[in-house]
């Protein structure tokens, strides 16, 4: 079963400051945590892909009717907190295992190593049809 674990730019439950305000060693520890988690998932044969996305400042929204020139909206956006910050795509044996990984990711270290308790959105990826149909 394949799950997408999504994290956005929204507030974290620990209420800590945005990462740009952290001490450099705290940022380093956070990045190392994320890399170590990815390595662990790869070693277990569960990692499909993990990517961080460029900041909301660089996001663009494109709307088109297919005929006239598309409408392109550049940031900043009032709802930038809802934008996707990054994702992990994992291939696991059960929904419970996806939740377990999400819990690990949520407890990523913040300032002074305190877990930031970031909300992780867990979404199952639609698979191919079963042969019964």
């Amino acid at each position: 079963m394949r799950y997408m674990l999504l994290q956005s730019y929204g507030p974290v439950e620990s209420g800590c400051l945005p990462m740009t305000e952290w001490a450099p060693e705290d940022i380093k520890a956070h990045i190392e945590f994320q890399q170590a988690l990815n390595q662990e998932l790869a070693d277990r044969g569960e990692l499909v892909d993990a990517q961080g996305l460029a900041g909301p400042e660089q996001a663009q929204f494109v709307v088109s009717d297919g005929a006239t020139a598309p409408v392109i909206t550049d940031g900043p956006y009032p709802e930038s907190k809802e934008l996707l910050a990054g994702y992990r795509l994992v291939d696991v044996e059960s929904a419970a295992r996806a939740i377990e990984i999400a819990a690990r990711a949520s407890a990523a270290p913040g300032p002074a190593g305190v877990p930031i308790r970031q909300p992780i959105e867990v979404r199952q990826v639609l698979s191919a049809p079963d042969p019964e149909l």
């Binding site: 790869a42 277990r44 044969g45 499909v48 696991v92």
Partner: protein, 408 residues
């Protein structure tokens, strides 16, 4: 026609059996054989296929093992010394037994299906990690790690390289059949876009089921599973439209079904049902149901009473509420939608939220003329569907029911 790839894959389990026996190290032997297969894939097309392909692969794999042991520590070197005492030619090769031992090993109950399937494909099927990773849309490294971990789990379980004790074989065979069935299901999918490669997985499942049957020709459930695969796979060409959309059984162009596969499947299921000791097992019953579908030239010719009876037996045997849902669909075809809906009510408590339950119920409501109920049912099923083709099908059905009922 046998391609070089086919030949390599056929040799794989035999070579692995010999190397594992010689060195007593399944995990290491499996890596060495994989490397030998890769070496062969590179050199055979250029230098020609050797006269004795199995011997060639054994020699190369054994050299890899020796290199590996040399690179390891002194303890391992002493093991190599002990192993080298038996380095004489292996003599007559117990090929089919080894294939069977490998299947029992790779489908060990200690392994989750997600690990057992790729390990079986590599060790028994002779596929490369790259091919397996591509079929499952996973990075090659991730798939390699999964296979390594599976082998570490087997090592920890202390499973010896021999047939399980006679008292355990029935249970262990069930695990093997289950893994092959899941592999087949994984591959039995659409025929478009990135899903295309996955068709190969069904083909691999059928090939492995044939190999298993060659080792256990008298086992009716093994034969039943192979028959089920063939009778299901036969419908693949008609099962999807040009855009990859699902076409349900009743609307498929039956002329596009693969006749040769159906004939072979029918012969196999008939033999299994006739010669098997005791009551027919789960896969034989499922194969028999598939056979009744495949024998109907038109949907209206389907022997629904026969299918209904088979689902009843399957339901009693497995106690699986999903079988009850299928029985409800068959009952509706045999005796009208009300009969089916009544059966569905009996499992509403267990499955009321499942997309397949909702979808079958919506179909029956549509047959019964309850368009509003059918539409809501198809929408609810679409919201819970676990796969994209089925979701698209259900959304389309909801829209069709709405359109058929006209404005207002």
């Amino acid at each position: 026609m046998t391609t070089p790839e086919d030949l390599l894959r056929q040799c794989a389990p035999q070579v692995l059996g010999v190397i594992t026996r010689r060195y007593g190290d399944f995990a290491g032997a499996e890596d060495a054989v994989q490397e030998a297969l890769l070496a062969a894939a590179l050199s055979w097309p250029a230098e020609g296929t050797p006269d004795n392909p199995v011997g060639w692969l054994i020699r190369v794999a054994a050299r890899r093992m020796t290199d590996q042991y040399r690179a390891d520590d002194a303890r391992r070197r002493r093991e190599l010394l002990a192993a080298s005492w038996s380095l004489a030619d292996p003599g007559p090769v117990p090929g089919q037994d080894d294939t069977l031992i490998l299947m029992y090993l790779c489908c060990h109950p200690a392994l989750a299906p997600g690990s057992a399937i790729p390990l079986t494909l590599r060790a028994v099927g002779g596929l490369t990690t790259r091919e397996i990773a591509a079929a499952f849309l996973l990075p090659e490294k991730t798939m390699g790690q999964r296979i390594s971990r599976a082998k570490a789990t087997l090592k920890a379980a202390g499973e010896p390289f021999r047939l399980p004790a006679p008292g355990q074989r029935a249970g262990r065979l069930r695990s093997v059949l289950h893994v092959l069935y899941l592999l087949f299901s994984e591959g039995y999918t659409t025929s478009s876009g990135p899903d295309l490669a996955r068709a190969d997985l069904s083909g691999e499942a059928i090939r492995l089921a044939r190999m298993l049957r060659a080792s256990l020709p008298g086992d009716p459930e093994v034969t039943g599973l192979l028959a089920l695969m063939l009778l299901t796979e036969a419908r693949r060409p008609a099962r999807t439209g040009p855009g990859g959309e699902l076409i349900p059984l009743a609307e498929q162009q039956r002329g596009r079904w693969d006749r040769a596969m159906i004939t072979e499947g029918l012969t196999l299921v008939t033999a299994a049902l006739r010669h098997g000791p005791g009551p027919a097992g789960e896969y034989q019953l499922q194969a028999a149901i598939a056979a009744l579908h495949d024998q109907a030239a038109r949907p209206a010719d389907t022997n629904w009473a026969g299918i209904l009876a088979l689902y009843r037996r399957l339901e009693r045997m497995t106690g699986n509420p999903m079988v009850t849902v299928n029985r409800a669909a068959a009952a509706a075809m045999a005796g009208g939608p009300a009969a089916g809906l009544a059966i569905l009510d009996s499992v509403a408590g267990q499955l009321g939220d499942h997309h397949r339950y909702l979808s079958v119920r919506a179909h029956l409501l549509e047959q019964a003329g309850d368009r509003a109920g059918a539409r809501a049912g198809f929408q609810a099923a679409a919201a819970r569907a676990g796969n994209v083709r089925e979701q698209q099908y259900l959304i389309t059905k909801a829209a069709q029911v709405a359109a058929d009922s006209g404005p207002g």
